[in-house]
Symmetry: C2
Subunit: 802 residues, 2 copies
């Protein structure tokens, strides 16, 4: 069909590579042929993200199926057995992801409960001894010195645990710090943050999380568990750690970004399920908060994974109930059971319910705002180096320990209410009504909340039928303390989850509100605490259905469902009117180019042609291309995809005898590098047969994305040879006509999950290039477009439909 | 920019319209210019569906945003206030949909419970009298005659009720028969089944459902409630019934298929929520089973609707608890509460659980298979006319009544177990342990299940801590009876839901299995019944997460969750290996062109160019077109979209001085008809200014889709005039290059929600048309492609990835 396969444009062979950091590696537009005349209108793109603390280059993922000849052959030749292998493997991996996540969650729970348990027991015993002596000596100085002893002991233990977690994080896997959920969200949106899902990250996350949670810091293990689940999924999918991959034949089916995306979605929902023992909540969390693409088949597979997690957790609880887990308590499948209380509400209860929702929304968005400020401050500190990061973590740990121990002295001792069925006071590791420094028959309500693990604190503050347990002053102190701790703990270099701090804050404020309501409401104070926690989470994280189900499964009280729903809806609406969700804020802060679901309204009046005009011209390759041109292009640009165009072809209708051009497709940088590496060169300029390429390349080879042009050496003679790019080209790239609005192009880009979108001309005539541009994720981000076209920002203020 | 706007191709003005029923009205390909040379390879399309009983023409919906000049102007000129109006309206409609669905569900529940209640009370009283007499007379003949009396009474009442429902359905709204869920699923996929969401349909569905359920037929009110919710949503969205629409200004925002789709999704989930009192289950049902497109914002809004439903239902139950609802019982928010039983299970319980799942899957797919056969048979009967349909419904009613009353005589009377807390025997309307014909202190276990409403039957068979209540023989009779009734009741001309019949069958088989297990298992028999019901539903309907949550909310037992999940997963997997879900079978049977989520594997090796070749050439219009051409095209084709092409334009680069062509976009038939109706003609061939079109058309006008070409009269002079189509053309249609694989084209079509997909040439040269074809839903359906290209069927056997 072709007569002449040579492209006319030639790159100068010896051009130096420009500073790569300043240009988008996804985008394909060359600065080589044209001066930057339109610099002030050029689309700026920042493919940089804060990963750990370093600023790293990030890439997009290829979710599109690369339909080149090799793929098509592989697809045609797949036997029924292979299809079954693939399906079987998918389900086995889903099973393994659930199983391993469940096991590791068990391990973390066991470790935390035991380490924190022995620590608290030791402190309690010290107090017990001292209380005994105090009655004899009554010496103020001795008292002070004893208090100091205990503070020093607790601070010391916590400091060691924090140091352990922080050293792991700072020196071995900076990406393991924080919750990891924003990065997972970005991954599922198509952004490959480096080193997020490695084996080191997994190990650091597990042990760092144990250390940080045991150290009594104001953070949860829930977020890290989600990340752990995703790491396990990623490692299983690729057959092991990066350097020691299993070379099992079956795993080749999973050597693509699509299947990895699916399995990581399973991992994320397993993580949530393991964190909250909430299988349906886990699936919904993945659906509502984390995943960008969703299919019915995925719903089913994530559901399977979470079912496995729940079975594992149940088995573990059964074992622990027989007392073989050390200090691990007798928790059930439900963490914070409030099912014992009868829920009775009337029309009048609408007012407090609405109030909780509104206040939760305001507080949640305020928290987001302040956390954003603190994280910016922390970024400045973290930039100074590893030592500063470590120091920051240790400072926060000391502050936390001192507060946790000293503040309970501010609370007055309360006499025990003998009518309650629970033991009071308690001096054990867990349990409500802590005695602390109080005489017998009395308890310290602030110590009940502070001198315990975070999980037990939640259990205590959720306790029902205990309307007189907590004093308003204690709750206020607790709320303010956790508000401050929550803000300053989240950004330090340890694995930290956001869920638990927010639940703690929210429950305190809910209970406070219940006290303020007094006899107006008949709803139990414990339920108010639950509603407060839910409202603050909705106000900060902006989830609805998944939070609702998580709270349902967490608290085991179905009758609470309708009011929980109302509270969540109000809190989310109020929060949304102030600022974006906390995860979106972190995504923005890290510089991850997340693509939103809804296009901005002004994108409707803006065509892709205008966008493409603002970029440098696209670099295209010929169907049969000279080696020197390929080497030049690869060396001198940082793009990841190049349109392949045939020139001078005769279309079947024969209208234009010559001079017609044809889009053949899109070739990836990785495949070009492979061609050069394997030296699949032709002496003459000709098209190859299908068997020729199959001799040299397998579909397994093409799945490799690691090759770099710097590793390739091409001799001078080889430079003059040719490569037939046709068989390696994805012949079915997604395209839009240049008159398409950016809004619709963005919808297609996100809905289908693209990395490159070719722009074809709306004109049909001789001499017009068949591809006029290429769009990538960075080009379609509202922020980048507005930077290049400031006049659009005016219409932006019109607000956003949904 | 243009020099010459005239297209070269001209249609013969006097061509007769071909038989429209045989061609796809969506597709744009003309038989006018070319003989049907390729008839044997032409893509067949059957845009016909069984709607009610009639075979009707169906159309696709326009979910794509029609970005023409008017739309863009309207979008630009929308003030902040209007955006707020729109958002406010969306939420108000979601509120109203939830509220009205809740109210109507309440009404139906009240009516059914009272009508069926008084009916059963009357029968029970007859029995009571007779039992009294019997002890005196002991005459066999009298006994027989009394039995006959009672059967006649019950049959008579049921017959009247069935006749009421069937007459409504047959004569007023044939589309109200059946559950309606498949049609809703099709609507959300983009298929507009006629008369599905009208006011008549709504009323017939409500009263028909009351009649049919009260008549004791083996059907539920759950499916109809989903349809009712959707009808309410559709009517509210369009401002009232078709002929009496509210002309409120604000409602203009909703005069498009996209917003109607969203609101109908809310309606469907409200319906499920109202049926099962399951708010989260309702949302998930819409997500998993019904909806094709899903966005986070939708998740939130459906959740809001279901929250409103739950609040309404709760308020209603509160009112009824004070005894103001006649015979309506003391049901709670939870229908079939099994929370009182303690769930304890061990590793060994895995075996019965797996067994339930496997048997459920097999039985479910067998049920689907048999139901398919029965429905085909019924279609033959229904085709004969309205009288036959009525007769069929009445026959089924008589058969049901006779069975329900006579079969209990087969069961032996059981002595009451005094250790149970429940009253035994009972002679009231509801209640367990019916006395029926038994002496005092005894009960008839089959009568307990049969002589009651379906809801109460489920409650009784789910009853926990009653291991000796039911005899195996009674359960077997019950199971077989309901299997037969379920198969033969579903297709009759009354509103009928599938959920309840399947729950009844499933619970009977679950309880049977529990009896068979004997002492092997420690799980309560009532829980087995729940698991059996879940497994049969999963085996037949193939839902997982939503069913799981519905059962969770229905039975109020969270600890049952893990085993329910396992049962559901196994049953669905087993069922899927036999046949598609029951809804897919019905969709297929009705001929609705539903577009599946996953492309078939062979579609990867098949390009859209091959598909377009098999169709007749596309009919394109010029940017400024002669009126006579437009009239011809509209009269002689039945297509709904026409590409608009400008010829002889000069592209900005000026490469081709003339002869270039340009895609301008796609114009809809409805808009062409409006142009003709409003006689927006130009004397000369010229482009208009934006204000000219705005004087004549508003965006409200363009939303109208009712116009028909037959209603338009154009004079001979007007025929020679011109129309500027540019401002009315959607200038950003979605396109694919002809080398695109059908698999990817289908993904884009479904993911973005298209009605027309333009195919552009991969060649770039003078003389090539800028649009080479147009693809519609019918062209992308696997079945249609395989009919036109039989050789593809061979590779099809390779199976389907997911």
């Amino acid at each position: 069909m072709e007569e002449d396969n040579c492209c006319t444009s030639q790159l100068p062979a010896e051009t130096q590579a420009p500073a790569m950091e300043e240009r988008d590696p996804e985008s394909n537009s060359s600065t080589l042929q044209e001066p930057l005349l339109k610099r002030n209108r050029t689309l700026s793109s920042t493919p940089l993200a804060i990963v750990g603390t370093k600023v790293s280059h990030i890439e997009s993922l290829d979710y599109e199926i690369n339909e080149n000849d090799l793929f098509k052959h592989d697809w045609r030749s797949r036997s029924k057995v292979q299809v079954l292998q693939y399906v079987f493997l998918k389900w086995s991996l889903a099973f393994l992801v659930g199983g391993l996540t469940g096991l590791i969650a068990t391990l973390i729970n066991l470790a935390v409960e035991n380490i924190a348990g022995y620590k608290i027991l030791a402190v309690v015993n010290l107090i017990k001894e001292e209380r005994f002596k105090l009655s004899y000596l009554l010496s103020f100085l001795v008292h002070i010195s004893h208090v100091f002893d205990r503070v020093a002991f607790m601070t010391g233990v916590n400091l060691v645990l924090t140091a352990f977690a922080a050293v792991l994080c700072v020196f071995f896997a900076p990406t393991a710090a924080g919750p990891g959920i924003p990065e997972i969200k970005a991954y599922l949106n198509g952004i490959d943050t480096p080193n997020m899902f490695g084996a080191t990250t997994l190990l650091v996350k597990i042990f760092g999380s144990i250390g940080a949670v045991s150290a009594g810091l104001d953070l949860g293990k829930e977020g890290p568990l989600v990340h752990i689940g995703s790491c396990i999924a990623s490692l299983l999918g690729q057959g092991g750690p990066d350097n020691y991959r299993l070379k099992w034949r079956w795993l080749r089916y999973f050597n693509n970004d699509r299947d990895r995306r699916d399995i990581i979605t399973c991992g994320a929902s397993s993580g949530v399920c393991a964190a909250f023992r909430s299988p349906v909540g886990g699936v919904l969390f993945a659906l509502e908060e984390v995943a960008t693409w969703w299919r019915s088949a995925l719903l089913w597979r994530t559901f399977f994974s979470t079912a496995v997690v729940v079975v594992i957790l149940r088995a573990f609880i059964e074992i622990c109930n027989s007392g073989r887990c050390g200090l691990f308590g007798s928790g059930g499948l439900i963490m914070f059971d409030v099912s014992s209380v009868e829920v009775r509400y009337h029309v009048m209860d609408v007012i407090p319910v609405v109030l909780i929702g509104v206040i939760g929304g305001v507080l949640g968005s305020l928290y987001n705002y302040l956390l954003h400020k603190v994280l910016r401050l922390y970024n400045l500190i973290n930039e100074k180096g590893k030592f500063h990061k470590l120091l920051l973590a240790l400072t926060v740990s000391i502050f936390t320990s001192v507060c946790l121990y000293c503040l309970p002295f501010l609370a007055k001792c309360q006499p025990c209410d003998p009518s309650l069925p629970e033991t009071c006071p308690t001096n054990t590791r867990s349990g409500n009504f802590k005695q602390f420094n109080c005489p017998d028959g009395h308890y310290n309500d602030l110590a009940t909340l502070l001198l315990t693990t975070n999980d037990d604190a939640v259990r205590n503050i959720f306790s029902t039928n205990t309307p007189t347990e907590f004093q308003p002053m204690s709750l206020i102190i607790f709320f303010i303390l956790y508000w401050i701790l929550g803000l300053f703990t989240f950004g330090i270099a340890v694995p930290s989850g956001l869920f638990l701090p927010i639940i703690l804050m929210g429950s305190a404020y809910g209970r406070l509100l219940a006290l303020a309501m007094g006899s107006y409401t008949k709803i139990d104070q414990g339920l108010y605490a639950v509603l407060g926690a839910a409202s603050l989470m909705a106000g900060s994280m902006r989830m609805t259905v998944s939070l609702c189900v998580i709270f349902l499964e967490l608290t085991n009280n179905l009758l609470l469902l309708p009011i929980t729903m109302i509270v969540l809806l109000i809190a989310k609406s109020v929060g949304d009117s102030f600022n974006p969700s906390i995860y979106d804020i972190i995504l923005e802060l890290k510089g991850l180019p997340f693509l939103d679901a809804n296009p901005e309204p002004w994108m409707r009046n803006f065509t892709v042609a205008e966008l493409v005009d603002a970029k440098e011209p696209v670099v295209t390759l010929c169907g049969v291309e000279k080696v020197s041109k390929i080497v030049d292009v690869l060396r001198n640009t940082s793009h990841h995809g190049f349109p392949v165009v045939d020139e001078g072809v005769v279309p079947p209708l024969g209208v234009a005898a010559a001079g017609a051009t044809e889009i053949h497709g899109l070739i990836l940088r990785a495949h070009l590098v492979q061609v050069l590496k394997k030296k699949w060169f032709l002496q003459e300029k000709r098209r190859t047969d299908e068997w020729e390429v199959r001799e040299k390349f397998s579909s397994v080879d093409l799945a490799e994305r690691e090759g770099r042009i710097e590793e390739v050496a091409v001799t001078r003679e080889e430079m003059e040879m040719y490569v037939d790019l046709h068989p390696l080209t994805n012949s079915t790239p997604f395209t839009v006509v240049e008159s398409m609005s950016v809004a619709k192009a963005m919808v297609i880009f996100r809905q289908v999950g693209l990395r490159h979108l070719l722009v074809v001309p709306k004109y049909q005539a001789a001499g017009i290039p068949p591809v006029v541009g290429i769009l990538t994720r960075q080009d379609l981000r509202a922020h980048n477009i507005l930077t290049a076209f400031p006049h659009l920002a005016r219409s932006k203020s019109r607000g956003k439909h949904n």
